[in-house]
């Protein structure tokens, strides 16, 4: 046993080394497009370093495409980095950008905290930073120029206001079930808050059950199946994103009810499949959470580079969709 045990350990060690190399190799690949030429010398093209969260959803991919296209259009040289949902990758990328002396740094923080040191480094190097889509919780607001992104509370409120308008003639109680996003995430907390505030206007509107569906279709379906069994009368479903709403659709159909009629469905996001469901009459209302912030970001980058004053918080241009407007908008949607 002793001898074999020993060889096993040694083999295991070699394997671990190999695995380690593999992982570092992958990391190197991921970072490779930020490396290379510093690119700042010579022409006076504005250089923007952008660190993306990752490619975890259709929304995020549309976000990436929007940034890339807008940069090309605005004549801005984009250094793009994919952090693969890891903060350490993102910090590394930002340090890379600082070394390369880019003109402006923009990034979507993977998490809210732990950015002070690296943002300080950027500030000391005189490079302005723009946050996109997600905020950071730094106490020192001078570490970044501005935040460009969606107002999740407003999205929830828009959804709630539509419902209040829709049910103002209802005399009896209106039973609402809610599918929350990932527990503790900013969009879940804020959308819940905004929706709750808006429906408080009508005491007939009651949330009778609220559960996390983790922003996924499978989660939305599994939760809705139980909601339907536990509550004989559900009038409205509010889902924090389209995907959970799409999963819930299946559960509602399987229970022999007609989505959009027996149970009204309100969601947030407006991704393609969600818009299709809305146009097909299965959803009733979507508050948009737009990933297409590329053009606004490029404008901002030019402004902060020129030293212009910008507001500390800028909202993405967003709208809402009903079944009618969804039909009209669907053919030209980018994502």
């Amino acid at each position: 046993m002793g001898i074999t045990g020993n060889t096993f350990t040694r083999r295991g060690f070699g394997a671990m080394l190999a695995a380690g190399l593999l992982v570092t190799g992958l990391g190197a690949c991921a970072n490779s497009d930020t490396g290379g030429d510093a690119g700042t010398g010579g022409d006076d093209k504005l250089v923007l370093g952008f660190s993306q969260v990752g490619a975890e959803s259709g929304w995020r991919t549309a976000n990436t495409t929007s940034v890339k296209e807008a940069a090309a259009e605005a004549g801005i040289e984009l250094k793009f980095d994919d952090a693969q949902q890891k903060q350490e990758n993102q910090i590394k990328a930002i340090r890379n950008f600082i070394q390369q002396k880019v003109d402006v740094i923009a990034f979507s923080p993977v998490v809210e905290s732990g950015w002070d040191t690296v943002l300080k480094e950027a500030k000391d190097a005189g490079i302005p930073v723009i946050l996109t889509d997600r905020a950071v919780d730094s106490a020192d607001k001078s570490l970044y120029k501005t935040f460009l992104g969606s107002d999740f509370v407003k999205e929830g409120r828009l959804a709630g206001e539509w419902l209040v308008e829709e049910t103002k003639s209802a005399t009896g109680p209106v039973n609402i079930v809610e599918l929350q996003g990932t527990t503790g995430s900013a969009p879940a907390n804020d959308r819940k808050k905004g929706f709750g505030e808006a429906i408080a206007a009508n005491p007939n509107l009651k949330i009778i059950a609220s559960q996390s569906g983790d922003f996924t279709r499978a989660g939305g379906k599994a939760v809705m199946e139980q909601f339907l069994k536990a509550n004989p009368k559900i009038d409205v479903l509010f889902a924090h994103n389209d995907d959970m709403g799409l999963g819930a659709l299946e559960a509602i159909t399987a229970a022999g009810k007609v989505p959009g009629k027996d149970i009204k469905i309100i969601t947030v996001d407006a991704v393609k499949d969600g818009m299709q469901a809305l146009a097909d009459g299965k959803f009733n209302f979507i508050a948009e959470c737009s990933p297409l912030l590329g053009p606004q970001l490029m404008d901002l980058a030019k402004k902060v580079h020129a030293g212009e004053e910008v507001p500390p918080r800028i909202e993405t241009e967003e709208t809402t969709f009903t079944q009618q407007t969804a039909k009209e908008a669907l053919p030209t949607r980018k994502y």
Binding site: A19, L22, E56, S57, A222, Q226, F227, D243, L246, A255
Partner: protein, 357 residues
């Protein structure tokens, strides 16, 4: 009376006694919360109710856990099953979504075959790393756990692929003879594995490899080949589970499909009484373990437990199951209960010594 007393330890001492007790308690708690919880009605020609949901949703976990049981029996572990679920689901959905007619059975079968083919390759990859190259299983399968998720996202280009195919939906939400097709399929695979391992020498050989790989090799068992085999079986089981999960929602999400299912599967195996150290394995126990885990998840939704406390609730139930299942803990507990001046105390002492030995 005498036979009853002798029979009681036989029942309470069975390794599945406590998991089943907890399962029944969970169901009872649900009934207290909502008396109609156990009600099963016939809707559109098939069974409908929370119990049916539990059984249907536990089907993929049963499959993954079955493969995991065999891997663990050889003293290994397979962390990559969740990624294999994502890869196979993504592959099948991608192929189906590219068909001109998604309802064409032939196209769906080709998609399934392609996905199973990839799973076979992934299983061989895991098995080769473990059995031939000799990497520790936890490291070897960790590689695919990370890389497989990336592969799944590569296949789906980071998007959620939606399919609209009735034959494919059948795997996840279809019914045969009023029963969910998924659970029928899972039970069929369970029976197949049980027959192959328990009606032939295969099960004993697997246990021998897990008990002592070197000794089994010296006894003439091709330990390497057996190890390679169990990783391939595990990957194929995960692939079929991947079909069920993606068919359930008619879409493949490379990022979320099968996320953390490896942990649930390992838990199901452990609750079922199979030791992580390898050796003896219990397929029936694994099935009970998987049902228990799914019941727990569904209970959280059915009883509308606040999402902020849901994880804690789950963890506490799992800890309770593991503790009362551990002979050492039970011995201590019983001794304290019975040592109140009763003659049973020495027996408790003896049992504890046995465990310690």
């Amino acid at each position: 009376m005498g036979s009853w007393r002798r029979g009681l330890p036989a029942v309470t001492g069975h390794r599945l006694f406590w998991p089943v007790v907890v399962l029944v308690l969970l169901l009872a708690a649900n009934v207290v919360y909502r008396p109609s919880f156990l009600a099963v009605e016939v809707k559109n020609g098939h069974l409908y109710g929370s119990l049916v949901d539990i059984v249907r949703l536990s089907a993929p976990l049963i499959l993954v856990a079955l493969g995991m049981t065999l891997v663990i029996a050889t003293g290994g572990i397979d962390l990559s099953v969740g990624s294999v679920v994502a890869v196979s689901g993504a592959m099948a959905c991608l192929h189906i979504s590219r068909q001109p007619d998604q309802n064409n059975l032939g196209g769906v079968l080709v998609a399934l075959a392609m996905a199973v083919g990839i799973a076979l390759l992934l299983g061989i990859w895991n098995g080769t790393l473990v059995a031939v190259i000799g990497i520790q299983p936890i490291i070897a399968t960790l590689i695919l756990m990370v890389a497989g998720r990336g592969l799944a996202q590569l296949i789906t280009s980071g998007q959620i692929i939606t399919v609209n195919s009735d034959p494919y939906r059948m795997i996840g939400v279809g019914h045969v003879l009023t029963l969910p097709f998924a659970i029928v399929l899972a039970l069929a695979v369970t029976l197949l594995v049980a027959v192959l391992t328990r009606r032939t020498a295969l099960g004993m050989i697997i246990e021998a490899v897990g008990g002592n790989s070197e000794a089994s090799r010296l006894a003439g068992i091709r330990a390497r080949r057996i190890k390679l085999l169990v990783y391939v079986v595990s990957a194929v089981c995960a692939a079929v589970a991947g079909f069920m999960m993606t068919a359930n929602v008619s879409s493949a999400d490379g990022n979320a499909a099968g996320l953390w299912v490896e942990l649930d599967a390992i838990l199901a195996v452990v609750i079922g009484g199979t030791s992580l150290a390898g050796g003896r394995f219990y397929l029936g126990g694994t099935v009970v373990g998987a049902l228990l885990i799914q019941t727990l998840t569904t209970s959280v939704y059915a009883m509308n437990i606040d999402p902020q406390t849901a994880l804690l609730f789950k963890a506490m139930v799992v800890i309770a199951v593991c503790l009362i299942q551990a002979p050492a803990f039970r011995a201590k507990f019983w001794r304290r209960r019975t040592s109140a001046g009763s003659p049973a105390a020495p027996a408790g002492e003896q049992r504890k010594e046995q465990v310690a030995a």
